[in-house]
Symmetry: C2
DNA sequence: AGGAAACTACACCGAGCAGTGTAATTTCTC
DNA sequence: GAGAAATTACACTGCTCGGTGTAGTTTCCT
């Protein structure tokens, strides 16, 4: 065997099964309505084993949030290129964002996180901060394009929110709050192009 | 006395106190995490009295949804006027929408409803339908303007969503999901004008 | 092979939950 | 002032939950 004896330890399989089951339960029922018994049953694991891996429901939940957060990274930044058309670059940026928005891990994270944030003002703030971090990419691109004189933008943060709003109203909020299916490729293309064109019509 | 003996019946006061307390609890804690005992305590009313007015938690919740829904109406429709500038009319429409979005009743409703919808696909659909009803106003206005030849819009529903997205990304979603404070008048003006200008730059 | 580590079934605890029944007290209405 | 209606305190049912303790079994590692 290539790898000695690592990958298939029982305890690791159990732990993975618990996490997978917990994600499913939390996502479909929310934090409050999910019980440790249900998680154990779904993972086909003793309830005691769940508590041997995770000392409490809260810790298990936080662990899942971390895991989904990391899983939804995978984002290399796009940098501003003075030599390429704005429209092409923006389409690339928006397309990249939409691919992230429709990732399984990201949707799971967002649904659970937003459901939790709605009723916990303290936790909400931390999530805001981190979510906004991830949206920085577009802002810096806009700032660079403005500094280069190719966009008439005085407030890149505001403008970035506008462009994101144009996209999220189709490709994020309906999926998160209403469980609607992700956009099909044709729809994604239309949303992206229409958003970028409208944006450039005003700011270019 | 002008009004004979109507307004201050004890049973009406109790009922009102229960509804008020229930709204507070549901809004801040969500449906699952709110208990009838807490509602009774907050309303300074016997738990039994709560059940004398409302046969179950579910019925009480639905009653509240109805009440908030009605309270957030107050919306007269704006009709398309061929003789007035598009920008003025759209600003009026958007301003009207933002006033609704920031109403106390509407925010309460939306927070509770969305929190409930996130984990209940069946209920979510009904809410979508009714929410979209209320967004019809802008769509018909756009359709009229397009038919009049003053806007180059082939899909008014899509375009209406875009304009709404431009507004909601500042004036709705942050308030609902993150509990952020409503926009100040200056910010509202800026969001509305910028959204309308960008919209018209592309579709006019 | 043998000891350590992990897993399991199961019983249990204390708490909170939605909802009910009742008998006594207060309030309304005429 | 009398009868009806509403409110109250309180006890109670049946259920679910998060979490623990235990004793026996299985799996891992050397």
């Amino acid at each position: 065997m290539p790898t000695p004896t690592r990958p298939t330890r029982l305890t690791d399989l159990k732990r993975a099964a618990i996490l997978e089951a917990a994600i499913d339960e939390f996502r479909s029922a929310g934090y409050e309505a999910t019980s440790m018994d249900r998680i154990a049953a779904r993972a086909e694991v003793s309830k005691r084993t769940v508590y041997n891996h995770f000392p409490s429901k809260e810790v298990l939940f936080i662990e899942i949030m971390h895991q989904l957060w990391e899983a939804s990274r995978e984002g290399e930044e796009l940098v501003y290129r003075p030599d390429l058309p704005l429209r092409d670059q923006l389409l690339e940026l928006v397309g990249h964002k939409m691919r992230l928005l429709h990732g399984e891990a990201f949707v799971s994270l967002a649904r659970v996180a937003i459901a939790a944030a709605i009723h916990s003002p303290e936790r909400a703030q931390a999530m805001v901060a981190r979510m906004n971090e991830r949206e920085e990419g577009l802002t810096v691109w806009l700032r660079a394009a403005a500094a280069d004189g190719r966009l008439k933008i005085d407030d890149p943060v505001f403008a970035a929110h506008q462009l994101q709003g144009l996209v999220k109203t189709f490709a994020f909020w309906p999926q998160i709050t209403l469980g609607q299916p992700p956009l099909r490729p044709r729809e994604r293309k239309r949303v992206a192009e229409s958003a970028v064109d409208m944006f450039l019509a005003w700011y270019a």
